[in-house]
């Protein structure tokens, strides 16, 4: 294995770890910073904030994104909000409580030290964003407003309409623009990282392809930061943007970087269902709808084709209210998602393909009046109407769970550095803070914590010893990586088969959704592990990628990503199979309580599963990082 597999958690009491770590970290003096070149791949909340902050500190930064502008990274689509334990509401919130909720929400599969640091830094993020001009919602007094989110018992979520992600991203995009103008950051839009270059066992550069001109380039640097987001698109249909992919992190994995908990994927319960085969993506409807909507399906299969109005009250099954009387329609994401799948599997699902459940506002409209509902959810009802053509004030909405976020990612230590020295991974691309399930309004928090405050303070720990060690892009390792990328591009174009990319991607997605989606079992996972290589083999035999490499070629860029998904999917299934327990979003049917809840196995599996690539066609090697809980007490989640 390259480097060391050690989380390097600082000693001392939990609440002092970060402070004492900062006290003992190495530093790079201001006049030495300009001697270091840093590569940041990705320009979302994590990458954008990191690139801007590092540029501000005086490092020379090169930032890459595949989009045509840094502002289009998918963080922009986050709706709900961002958590922080400011306790502005005086409702008993504290850093410890935010930490505890996050680690419990993650079903005790994340590191105490990392999560505590996240909760601590959350407050600084709000300060920073306000100073940058993020227009958070405010009270009439002019002070910041909060709302409660995702079943939390306190109001700690800061928000900017339903566009919090957009506003936070534009905040760091603007900070990035300022550094671009100042000349400290050089931006490379429409440039995709296709390989990581390791020189003398350290990450020292990348090979990229300019998507517009097709030109392949080498970039040497002192350190490489990956902020390339999640891999939800492995399922083909997800709430992710079309371009989201696993390529950068997967290429790093193939170069020796450990990949942790790849099977941990979050399914969001309230998305608009699939309407047909043409569908290219799924749209999320804010979870807040469940505050007033009632979820139901017909009691009998025979009624599923009937118009909802024709099904009398007595023939409806309000299954969440029935199963979870105290939480009812507000049961957590993973639980309500699985419940929806269950009733659809029983053949009681509604809408095209029988994959949907009703979210009914009739009672709420009767109780509060249509105007109040319009006031609360008007824009969501409009989105729903645009997509489905149905008026949710008159007929119940149809919803279904969809892949939303991936908790797994490249393994990192407390400094956010991978086992490969010099390779840092931040944001959704790493695995560190959300365990087996992410709480609402925590993704934005993590991305910005990593980029604005953690990485700029931990990076010097590595850089301080690296003066003068930057290789030249002419080094043989770069030569080899470039040839590797070139060969792969040519190989994709040479297949010249008959099937389209999307057809492979769709088939892979469907397979994973069935076998490695909301619930998994050993038999299904083994079947998937058998089918994925077959599909991959077919892909390399029969895919058709038109056009050529020296051109703007959208099919070619997507082909590379699908090819990586076809390999990565196998890793996901292996991880899901190996994790022989249920935890958070990872639900193994063999491991459930008599009531059908996730049953953890803390004895055997309170650990991070980190996978090491051993070569094509070889089984990857599993490394386990045991999780130690010194402060919190492991409990069974119950939402009855």
């Amino acid at each position: 294995m390259i480097g060391t597999f050690d989380a390097k958690i600082p000693p001392g009491p939990l609440a002092q770890k970060w402070r004492s770590h900062l006290d003992h970290s190495r530093l790079v003096s201001p006049n030495n910073r300009r001697k270091f070149e840093i590569i940041v791949v990705g320009s979302g909340l994590a990458g954008g904030s990191a690139a801007a902050t590092l540029g501000e500190l005086g490092y020379r930064v090169r930032c890459f994104c595949f989009q045509d502008s840094a502002r289009r990274a998918h963080s922009i689509a986050a709706q709900g909000g961002i958590n922080a334990a400011k306790n502005y509401q005086n409702d008993g919130d504290s850093i410890y409580r935010l930490f505890y909720d996050t680690i419990k929400g993650g079903d005790f599969r994340s590191r105490e030290a990392n999560v505590y640091r996240l909760a601590e830094i959350a407050n600084n993020i709000i300060d920073q964003c306000v100073a940058q001009g993020v227009p958070f919602a405010r009270e009439y007094s002019g002070y910041l407003a909060n709302r409660s989110f995702g079943g939390a018992q306190v109001s700690r979520t800061f928000y900017a309409r339903g566009q919090t992600g957009q506003q936070l991203l534009l905040g760091c995009y603007q900070a990035l623009c300022r550094q671009i103008a100042a000349g400290t950051v050089q931006m490379f839009p429409q440039t995709e990282m296709l390989d990581l270059v390791i020189v003398d066992g350290q990450a020292k550069g990348i090979v990229t392809r300019n998507l517009r001109s097709g030109k392949i380039d080498r970039h040497a640097a002192d350190t490489v930061v990956l902020a390339t987001g999640g891999y939800g698109n492995v399922f083909y249909l997800s709430t992710n943007a079309r371009g989201c992919n696993v390529t950068a992190t997967y290429r790093a994995y193939k170069r020796g970087a450990l990949f942790a908990n790849p099977s941990f994927t979050q399914i969001h319960p309230t998305c608009i269902p699939v309407s047909g085969e043409h569908q290219s993506k799924l749209t999320l409807m804010s979870e807040s709808l469940r505050n007033d909507g009632r979820v139901w399906v017909p009691k009998r299969k025979e009624d599923r084709e009937k118009a909802p109005g024709e099904i009398p009250e007595t023939d409806r099954d309000y299954y969440l209210e029935r199963k979870y009387p105290s939480y009812g329609n507000l049961a957590p994401r993973d639980i309500s998602s699985r419940a929806a799948k269950e009733v659809c599997d029983e053949g009681r699902g509604v809408g095209p393909g029988g994959r949907g459940v009703y979210l009914d506002f009739a009672d709420a409209i009767k109780r509060l009046g249509e105007d109040r509902i319009r006031e609360r959810y008007g824009n969501l009802f409009e989105v729903y109407e645009k997509i489905t053509g149905e008026d949710a004030y008159k007929v119940p909405m149809r919803i279904y769970p969809a892949v939303h976020y991936t908790m797994g990612g490249l393994w990192v230590d407390y400094d956010l550095m991978n086992n490969v020295p010099g390779l840092f991974v931040i944001g959704e691309a790493n695995f560190s803070d959300h365990g087996a399930n992410r709480l609402g309004a925590s993704a934005l928090m993590q991305g910005l914590a990593d980029g604005y405050f953690v990485l700029p303070n931990t990076l010097p720990n590595y850089l301080a010893g690296q003066t003068g060690k930057r290789p030249s892009p002419g080094a043989p390792e770069f030569q080899e990586a470039e040839e590797n990328v070139q060969a792969r591009v040519e190989k994709l174009l040479r297949v010249n088969g008959t099937r389209s990319l999307d057809s492979f991607h769709r088939e892979l997605g469907l397979l994973l959704w069935e076998k490695c989606g909301m619930s998994r079992h050993e038999k299904g996972l083994r079947e998937a592990l058998q089918k994925i290589p077959e599909l991959r083999e077919q892909f390399w035999r029969d895919v058709r990628v038109p056009g050529n490499e020296e051109d703007f070629n959208q099919s070619l860029e997507r082909a590379g990503r699908v090819a990586d998904f076809l390999e990565f999917a196998e890793l996901m299934c292996m991880d899901a199979l190996e994790r022989d327990e249920s935890a958070g979003a990872h639900f193994r049917e063999e491991h459930q309580t008599p009531d059908g809840e996730a049953l953890r196995d803390d004895e055997r599996h309170a650990a991070v599963f980190a996978w090491e690539f051993q070569g094509d066609g070889q089984l990857p090697k599993l490394q386990r990082e045991p999780l130690h809980f010194e402060t919190v007490h492991l409990t069974q989640r119950s939402y009855k």
């Binding site: 922009i76 009439y140 623009c177 709430t239 645009k386 099919s555």
Partner: protein, 251 residues
Amino acid sequence: MNFQLRIWRQPNRKSPGKLVDYEVRDISPNTSFLEMLDILNENLLRAGKEPIAFDSDCREGICGTCSLTVNGEAHGPDHPGAVCELYMRKFRDGATITVEPFRVGSFPIVKDLVIDRSALDRIVQAGGFISARAGSAPEANSVTVPKHHADLAMEAAACIGCGACAAACPNGSAMLFTSAKVSHLALLPQGHPERESRVLKMVQVMDAEGFGNCTNTYECEAVCPAEISASFIAKLNREYARARFRRSMGE
């Protein structure tokens, strides 16, 4: 549903382009406009022809990547909304639909329907930010912002940077885009220290990028997917006049 399509094809920036006729059949009314183009591309691929290049990413109207002029309207006929939020049920069965790129001199065509909008990035780089170093921020609630100003700033900040305003403007002007950023930051107390230099620099770069001038036709706000009001252009004019005046007074 069946449709006749006339789509702009152009191999690259320098070569001339033209409208090419296509046909798609058996499209479900629940298909989005971009998914209809995906289907057309699959058909082209099967026929051994080159697919049509067009941009999109989030496909839920927030990233601002998609940029098509459909039947002469930026983002198509279903306003407000980006073209990724346009669904085929909005068209008559058998309709002929013309698809062109956003046409603005400052947005050169890359290929077919894909354009280069880096000019918008450069306008923001000129000053569309608040210089707040990470770590230097005061406690968030130490500065209050009147709710009305915060709401108005949010309305302006909702811009998705798609460039439809310039594409629809008879003059190819990017005033709505620039005014949204200038207004957003000028409305907040945090943005005040750089208020004058920001508007002067951003307007200067906007002009230098070759965008046209505003003649108050309000076509921009009619097609804006984020419903940015043209009253922010009035605000920009006000901010610009104020900055010029204060500069001339030596402040």
